[in-house]
Symmetry: C2
């Protein structure tokens, strides 16, 4: 007998606007991208959970000695939400279109897809989108301790989203933004960057309140620009936003070099860091030829690479 | 018979904090530097004004056909203030310790020193400091159309000054700041940079109000740090301020490269653009060895050079 299998996919995401400030209730813009994480669940006859993935080593967890360990902590915390309903083991096969270290929100995507296959299997139905979003945010916070949920919203709903964390505001912006992503060759863990910024914020609360207000104003202008499809304006706002990220001390010489290189290109409207900063990707608004980056051997040596990326119009999808 | 001669000197200056925002009534910090402009006035028997300088070609202006022309427009506007009292020609010899294009506020310094020799000659006394400041600001605005007067204040009063334009607030901060200045190899005229920023401000008044508030908050924190002689904190605030200047779109790849290079040095607390931006100097807080810049042949080719600089404790001085 072939066991029934449950499949779900969720897109990764890129933060376009509002990094750091979003954690303090300010607006953000996040885009789902056309790089997906696919999760397949197949029930087993025994009481073991076997997790395999294209990214990390296989892991076997006994249902009766359930514990949450890295690197599958997001997946395991998601499973824990359903633990009481789980009556047998299962194979969980994770396939990712993109590496976990490039700032495409893989944790959010794998969480969303895992919760989805569990719901399909155990509840016989897909949760509503807001339910899935709330559940995934809870998992990410339990596994990570901190997070805005913006990447979760993108993974669930797809497209370009105007986002606010508290109170939750999720608005799909019906738009096709041309995007370029360039990976800087390294990443500082998001929680470390957030901790660094929060530490400086605690030293200068009034100044950081001003910076976050400026970011919020920038994001609100960007939402208007997106609705008008005004890419020139949107690019300018990205550049202004980048200065504010620099003011938060999450910029560095490599990111700055990539950003100025992008801005110097004729079809690029603006460029900035995507995400918490101190590594990961920079994004440009516009289109450039494939393999424009790395631009030279020095960049190649640093591991800088261009990632072909487009906005994904769909959020998670599933086969039941 | 040897004609009596009147001599005055005024220091150049570096903007440390508050660029652009100062034009909108926000706080700034400016430092007089140990590079001076020296002006000597010797009355002539005829009715000609002969201006000579270490920077530009000699110019002869007939007292009876007085007109204001470049490159001596600041000097000539200063002379115009006294035109009714001038009964004979004179030689005006200008000697500058530094080139006019390195963003050391040469226009303010030459204006202050010229007004001073004219006052000594024609009124038989030196004007009081506030009188000299107000007169020089008037001249700079007439010649230039725009300006904060911060550089004028530094040239008149010397030292490190907390400054506000409207209402005028000039506070000497009794401090010895270690400074490094690196010339980027090029300069965009200040009025052009201001016009560019003002144009963008007019498109996004609310956003720019946020940016200027953040700059103001940064400057006020910096004044506190200076009073406490807390160089670590002051350096951090310089870095934050730099991000805000980047947000004003007055940063570029060369300035960013120099700033990140300075920040990577062990004795540098922070670094930023000095002045309007898009060229001129970057400054670092701290000390580095002479000739650290240019760091390589590429920088040398661009005309990048390190300028030995220290805060000048004195403002203008004169020999009567």
């Amino acid at each position: 007998m072939v066991s029934k299998s449950y499949k779900a996919s969720a897109p990764g995401s890129l933060m376009l606007f509002g990094e750091h400030a979003v954690l303090h209730g300010k607006h953000a813009i996040v885009a789902a991208v056309n790089h997906y994480i696919h999760v397949e669940l197949v029930p087993r006859a025994d009481r073991n959970i076997k997790i395999t993935s294209s990214e990390f080593n296989e892991q076997l967890v006994a249902l009766d000695k359930f514990a949450i360990t890295k690197p599958y902590n997001y997946v395991l915390v998601a499973i824990k939400q359903y633990l009481k309903k789980i009556t047998c083991g299962f194979d969980l096969k994770i396939k990712s279109d993109f590496p976990a270290n490039i700032g495409f929100g893989s944790s959010a995507a794998v969480t969303v897809a895992t919760l989805e296959v569990l719901a399909l299997w155990l509840e016989g139905k897909s949760p509503d989108l807001m339910g899935l979003y709330r559940q995934a945010v809870k998992v990410v916070l339990l596994a990570h301790g901190v997070g805005s949920g913006a990447d979760v919203a993108a993974s669930v709903f797809g497209g370009v989203i105007a986002y606010q964390m508290k109170p939750v505001k999720i608005q799909r912006l019906n738009v096709k933004l041309p995007l370029v992503a360039v990976y800087s060759g390294y990443k500082t863990p998001t929680f470390e960057v957030i901790a660094k910024v929060e530490k400086e914020r605690s030293r200068s609360p009034a100044l950081f309140a001003c910076l976050y207000n400026a970011i919020d104003c920038c994001v609100k202008n960007a939402i208007v620009a997106i609705k008008k499809n005004d890419l020139v304006r949107l690019g300018q706002l990205m550049n202004i936003h980048q200065g504010l990220q620099d003011a938060l001390s999450v910029n560095d010489s490599i990111l700055a070099e990539l950003i100025f290189a992008l801005r110097a290109m004729p079809n690029i409207y603006g460029a900035k860091i995507s995400g918490a900063g101190l590594g990961d990707c920079v994004i440009g608004l516009g289109k450039i030829a494939l393999n424009t980056f790395p631009q030279n051997n020095a960049q190649k040596k640093l591991g800088i690479k261009q990632i072909d990326v487009a906005v994904s119009r769909v959020g998670f999808t599933y086969v039941w």
